[in-house]
């Protein structure tokens, strides 16, 4: 048996340290969320609430409770549903529109198409803050202030440029002979998209979809200014509100954070495999 070389051992030590650095906050999040208010104050955050087991080793440890999770869900249940609703709708809409835009910009030649594409590319870099006031004014004049529709509209619009870029670059690599063949076969513009390009787009849909889902789900600013009431309040805003002005129930806050992170974790667990494939596909093609 050969021993690993010293440099390799050093590498593993460093990597393990990094893993600890990343995992400890999550670990503290979980342990704290399972403690009572009093236990949060008297114990170190990283100590798990495993009363019976730790006492064997002579350690002081609190007993676990699920109460913070219940309280957090009572407060965050509705906002979580809100968030799910507008995130899913806006993700699907922005991907679909981005895909159609990408098709038009990559496969149909027309005067000014490069200029339009340039505008799309610039739009990616517009910061949220700069459009905040006009956005709120527009939404309230449309009568959409405090509604989920406002959030769907805002996030869809904001997501279209990046989705367009992603899909255009993907479609550009699909050989032109394919669309030419479809044209001579008699298919029109829409039919070519529907029958040829759309079925070939599973990968970019996963990549753009996960990207959009993550950034819309994590958004705080649009949610804060467009939805003041409980009817449309996103989970990100509700989570921030868990931290009261004078007191902070850390256990409830941590439980709320876990509830909030759950959908994203599920999305990555389900689609992670395809996501890596999608990123790699892009990387190889350049």
């Amino acid at each position: 048996m050969t021993f690993p070389r010293p440099t390799r051992i050093l590498l593993y030590v460093v990597l393990i340290l990094f893993v600890f650095a990343f995992v400890i906050p999550f670990w503290a999040d979980i342990t704290t969320s399972l403690k009572t208010n009093m236990d949060v104050i008297v114990t170190v955050p990283v100590v798990p609430p495993l009363d019976g087991i730790l006492r064997i080793f002579g350690l002081v440890s609190p007993s676990p409770t699920l109460e913070p999770w219940m309280i957090a869900f009572q407060i965050m249940g509705r906002p979580l549903l809100n968030s799910l609703e507008f995130t899913i709708f806006a993700t699907i809409l922005s991907c679909l529109i981005g895909s159609i835009n990408g098709y038009v910009l990559s496969k149909i030649r027309f005067r000014g198409s490069n200029m339009i594409f340039l505008f799309f590319s610039i739009a990616i870099f517009i910061p949220y803050q700069t459009v905040l006031i006009p956005l709120v004014l527009t939404m309230s004049r449309l009568g959409l202030f405090n509604t989920l529709a406002a959030l769907i509209l805002a996030h869809t619009t904001y997501g279209i440029p990046i989705c367009t870029l992603l899909f255009r670059n993907f479609y550009k690599d699909i050989p032109e002979s394919l669309t030419m063949a479809a044209k001579t076969d008699g298919a029109g513009t829409w039919r070519i998209y529907q029958s040829i390009l759309l079925p070939l787009s599973a990968l970019p849909f996963v990549v753009a979809g996960v990207f959009q889902f993550t950034s819309i789900w994590n958004d705080y600013l649009f949610g804060l200014v467009l939805a003041q009431g409980i009817d449309a309040q996103p989970a990100s805003v509700a989570l921030a509100n868990l931290k009261g002005t004078s007191t902070a129930s850390w256990n409830v806050l941590m439980a709320g954070a876990i509830w909030y992170a759950l959908p994203l974790v599920i999305v990555y667990l389900v689609l992670g495999k395809y996501l890596i494939k999608g990123y790699m596909a892009g990387a190889v093609k350049g």
Binding site: L178, M180, K183, D185, G186, L200
Partner: protein
């Protein structure tokens, strides 16, 4: 089944003239070849016929229907031209089975399910791919993909087949086989076919007539044998035939009242039939062209022979290619292996006087 007439077709990509004032008439049921080196504009012309590319100027007629005329704003989209195209990369839809690939043009036209089923099956049988109908394109070999692409083209009985180097991606053996299949298919279906290739052998084998293009300009349109026997200029002469025609640059001079070509190292007395044609010419520089099989080697000096030296022998079994040098020129002679020739040996070449070509050295056009 349709006759295609192209008038004055011109297409530019930026500053590059892809096709320049092209005039062509492709007859009904004809197997017509567009031949030329890469970048000669043959594919551009094909895409214009298909309607996949808008020319800058010119007209395209299908029988008596005008389908393209940019000046008059006439441009029939490809969907309505009833042409079928076969691409070099086959352009099969990767997510569809062979059946659905072939059925696609029918489905687009909303033909009934039974009709689609019947036609796809008949087409698959014709091409011998019935057992592949459930497969996806990536599970097929190159030759099989080629057949599927053909199937997709013929299933809807188009008025014209357009083929853009359809055999270029196949290996040599399969290419020869598919070439024969294509010819048979055309004989069976009789559909007007326009076929683009850079391979002169393919062009000669398949074409009823061949149009040779260079730098977007039409050089000559003729039947393959005519193209071979009577090339209009040095480009066509050099492009058609393998090994290519031998070309010797020389000066046209008068000697004892007869025209001779002075090659520097030797002179060649032009035969009587050319004397008449060249009588009036002003040109002094000429190119003497002779096909490798129209030269005979002899072991000793005779009248009107040219001295040469044997440099290399290439035996390809059925025939032997003898590479010789005449002064600064290298020429190739094709003979039967029976001939006893050795490298380094001096030899005299006799040109078949009936088969020589005389081109103008400046314009490169055929003079006699």
């Amino acid at each position: 089944m349709v006759k295609v007439v192209i008038k004055n077709l011109t297409k530019k990509y930026g500053e590059v003239q892809a096709v320049k004032n092209l005039d062509l008439q492709i007859e009904d049921k004809e197997f017509f070849i567009l031949l030329g080196p890469s970048g000669c504009g043959k594919s551009t012309a094909l895409l214009c016929i298909a309607g996949l590319l808008r020319p800058d100027r010119g007209e395209i007629w299908f029988d008596d229907k005008l389908v393209t005329n940019p000046q008059r704003g006439v441009y029939l989209p490809p969907q309505q031209r009833q042409v079928a195209m076969v691409f070099q990369d086959y352009a099969l839809y990767p997510h569809m089975t062979v059946f659905r690939n072939i059925a696609f043009p029918l489905e687009v036209r909303n033909e009934s399910r039974n009709e689609v089923l019947r036609k796809v099956k008949a087409t698959a049988e014709l091409l011998g791919i019935s057992q592949l109908l459930d497969r996806k394109p990536k599970q097929l070999s190159g030759g099989q993909r080629q057949r599927v692409a053909l199937g997709r083209a013929i299933v809807r009985e188009p008025r014209i087949f357009l083929m853009d180097e359809p055999l270029a991606n196949l290996d040599a053996k399969l290419r020869v086989y598919m070439r024969v299949e294509l010819k048979k298919l055309h004989q069976k279906l009789g559909t007007t076919t326009v076929y683009v290739t850079h391979d002169q052998v393919e062009a000669m084998c398949l074409g009823d007539r061949v149009a040779v293009l260079k730098d977007g300009i039409l050089q000559q349109v003729a039947a393959p044998t005519e193209l071979y026997d009577a090339p209009k200029n040095t480009f066509v002469a050099g492009f058609i035939g393998s090994p290519p025609m031998n070309m010797l640059n020389g000066k046209l001079v008068k000697k004892n009242g007869n025209l001779v070509v002075d090659l520097g190292v030797a002179t060649f007395e032009l035969p009587n039939w050319t004397q008449e044609k060249l009588k009036e010419t002003q040109a002094s520089e000429v190119v003497l062209g002779i096909r490798p099989e129209d030269i005979v080697l002899t072991g000793r000096y005779q009248e009107n022979t040219i001295e040469a030296k044997v440099e290399m022998l290439e035996s390809i079994g059925r025939e032997i290619h003898i590479h010789l040098t005449v002064g600064e020129y290298s020429i190739v002679v094709v003979t039967t292996p029976a001939e006893d020739v050795k490298v380094g040996q001096p030899a005299w070449i006799v040109l078949n006087e009936e088969k020589i070509h005389v081109f103008d050295g400046k314009t490169e056009e055929l003079m006699a």
